[in-house]
Amino acid sequence: MALTRRNWLKATGTGLLAAPVALQGFEDYFQPAAGGAPAGMTRIVTACGICSPSCGIQAWVQDGRVRFLEGLPGDVSGDGHLCGKGAAGAMQLYDPDRLKYPMKRTNPRKGLDEDPGWVRISWTEALDEIAFRMKQTVDNYGAEALLFVTLPSPDLWARFMNAMGVVNRIDHRDECYQTDTVIQKYTTGGKTWCNDFENSKYILLFGWDILAKAKLAYATGIVKARSNGAKVVHFSPNYTATSRFANEWFTIKPGTDLAVALAMIQVIISENLYNKEFVDNYTNFGKYETEIRAHFAQYTPEWAEQISGVKAADIRRIAREFAANGPAIAPAHKKSLCANYMNSSQLVHAISILNILAGTIDRPGGRYFPRMHSIPGVDAIYPPPPYPPKKGRRVDGRDKLPLVNEVDQGMFSTLADGMLNKYPGMIKFSFWNAYTILGFPNPPRMVEALKTVDFTVVMDFLPTDTVTLADIVLPSAMYLEGNDAVARDYIAKYPQTVARKAVSAPIFEAKSIAYVAIELGKRLCPDYFKTPDGSWINPNTLLDEKVKRAGLGENFADFAAKGLVEKPQPFTPRTTFVSVAGADGKCQIYVPQFPAKGADPLPKWIPKRDQPNDIYPYYYMTFIPAIHRRNTTENNSILHEIMPTNHAIINPAMAKKHGIAEGQKVLVRSRAGQIELPAHLSETVPPDVVMVAHGFGHVSRAMSLAGGAGARDGDLIPDASIDDFVAAGNYAGASCIMDAVCSIEPL
């Protein structure tokens, strides 16, 4: 019998085990507990919604109230666990500051320091007014005057936007992984953000800091990889929790990872160390070998040392190890790498090439394509009438970046400039769903942009700063209040889907965005919200049908009773990759389609945008702490208690130079703005870097914990115009959300 923690405990406790048993190594010992139910509590299987891997949850409910959230055994996303954010998620459900009913503004003056003069209204009044304003806007100015700051999900909401011909829709994904989406489409063939860390033997991390963000889908993989004997190498200017899990950590000048990656490619190619079997059979290396060898020859480790500060000998050695000691992986994806600097487009291409040369695309220990249940969307179940063509200008200027246009995401960084400079007054109506201005570079400029909009609707579950700028606010249900089928897509070697079941009915008058889609749809585009028999689409019936067609259960109730449905299957590596014309199904190192779309076929070195200078001598870096998710959890009472505010984290050497003491208030300035916050001295930060945690500096006092706590990191990040991006060769639209330099002085 395998010695699990549970039966070990029982056996010892009841004296059945005569001789003491030594721990048989971690894996034998640490099995998930057998999951006994706490007395008097009901178990509900659901899924987290704080960050995107949506770890499975078993919620324990007592007298109708969530008492405890723990990981769902068998769930591959959270590995059967939750992080500190997920475990505390119920505090968001019961947050006394939550928006409770629709409200209407009575104070016409807008600003973060203006009291909106909220008046409670009914849902009917709110929806009628929103529909009226939208119709008026489209009739007078066309659909291009509508701005939707929202994810295109759920599918009913996407249908509503499509039916209305919405052109200007943006969401945070351009800050997270748009760059990767664009590059993977042309280099490996798709959504290769699944990382098989646990089977990898060499993990090369460029700025990647997801472990320190405690994103379990990846963090536990790194821990397992180390247990399995993998080597982890971390390039990061500062020392983080991820560095602690690395065998080797190299500090690197901010924004120069690209130079090191290019030099590693040079070493691997010039010394012919790449995985021949994979490269010969599944890539276009042979076809473009001359161009590839000629291009990378210039990027020697000695050259990269000059730029990055990483020693040439180390670059050469790591490149050789990476090639020789596979399976090897270099993950990309997410804020900590794909979007930080003006050269992130090139960096992601270079990293993709490293993975291709390692020969681990869709191979064990590499980046692989997710194997998921196919859950049909509303358009498959109730085919809509043809959607109107999307006509009009993109206010963020996205149409100037053809590669970004193709993947239909948006541009957070250029939105304010578009609204204020490029197309002033074009946007007349905006709808914000669960986004706050804190997510944007230079939030004050976004506030100015929002003031130019005639009518703004904000749907959220908390009274955020953006809510303060709304004309109508709608109270949103949160993730523990809704039903859904959530496919595992970060860890997805075989299909697995978790039933997200509401653990609570929406509090007060909170509603889901699907409800808003249907209700606005009835008012504005009714033909799109009817079933074939002429009745209105019912989201519950729709979910039942999705579950049935995906093979998850007879209906949602049946699926929810199972909680988790999976289809284990052997991992069959792909043999065809990029599907765009001319790729012949191969991985593309050299991307011949790029030149026609304003991009270089091979990644070339470009520096980051802002460089230290006389006025702003220091690099400015931001980070997402483990205990908060972007700018959404700072009002969670448990998480607030653990990390209530942020600091300017600086090296003691910098502090000494400027006469700054621990805890002293400092003024940090950049060309975009300035913030005041207390200093924290730490040897984890290089002497030429000021670091500030993201997510703080909410102004809205209606959030009793987060309001007024800390400073807005984004105020120091310059936003950009689309022309800046085009001129810099930022063809995949990497949003430069950390590309800034600053000065610091004590107050």
Partner: protein, 184 residues
């Protein structure tokens, strides 16, 4: 008397604070009153770039020789026979904070609202039901485990960096010392 102890593998801690959140949730510990029964503390040593960090989850160790019990003037601190868990009787506690002054681990904490002391109960109500303490249940990497003390004390080391010398109080905790295997 069965007793339980903590087994900590600090190299596996990713600082996610699931243990802290779980403790708060299960025990319904009020926030904002100065009580965090379990806390992950991060210690930095060295000078950049020769810098190292240690993340150490800590709570009450239900010491075999619990000084908090000895110094409590009103005998509010007691030990359960069935599992060796040290508890504070909220009826008797007068909030004098004597226990906090003598505890080397910062376990007893002054609750600003109740004006009494508060600390980790090892989730004895879960132990009674055969469940793991809440913090252990949530820990995603196995950095924090627990088990019968007679087994746990055969593992690892008595102390680690940034942990008060255990000789006098005999805390029921052991620290796994071996690191990860060296990768190639």
């Amino acid at each position: 008397m069965a007793a339980y102890g903590w087994l900590i593998d600090e190299k596996r801690c990713i600082e996610c604070r699931a243990c802290e959140s779980a403790c708060k949730m299960w025990n319904q510990v009020e926030t904002g009153v100065g009580v965090r029964r379990r806390q992950v503390r991060v210690y930095t040593t060295g000078v950049f770039p020769q810098v190292r960090q240690q993340a150490l989850t800590g709570a009450c160790y239900h010491c075999e020789n619990a000084w908090c019990m000895k110094v409590c003037p009103v005998k509010a601190i007691w030990r359960r026979d069935e599992d060796g868990v040290v508890l504070i009787d909220q009826e008797k506690c007068v909030g004098c904070q004597q226990c906090a002054m003598f505890c080397p681990y910062g376990a007893p904490q002054f609750n600003l609202r109740t004006r009494k002391m508060d600390k980790c109960t090892m989730c004895f109500d879960r132990l009674e039901q055969g469940l793991d303490p809440a913090c252990v249940t949530l820990c995603p990497t196995g950095a924090l485990r627990y088990g019968p003390w007679e087994e746990v004390q055969k593992q690892g080391a008595e102390t680690t960096a940034n942990f008060a010398p255990p000789r006098q109080t005999r805390p029921k905790v052991r620290f796994i010392q071996e690191g990860f295997p060296t990768g190639k």
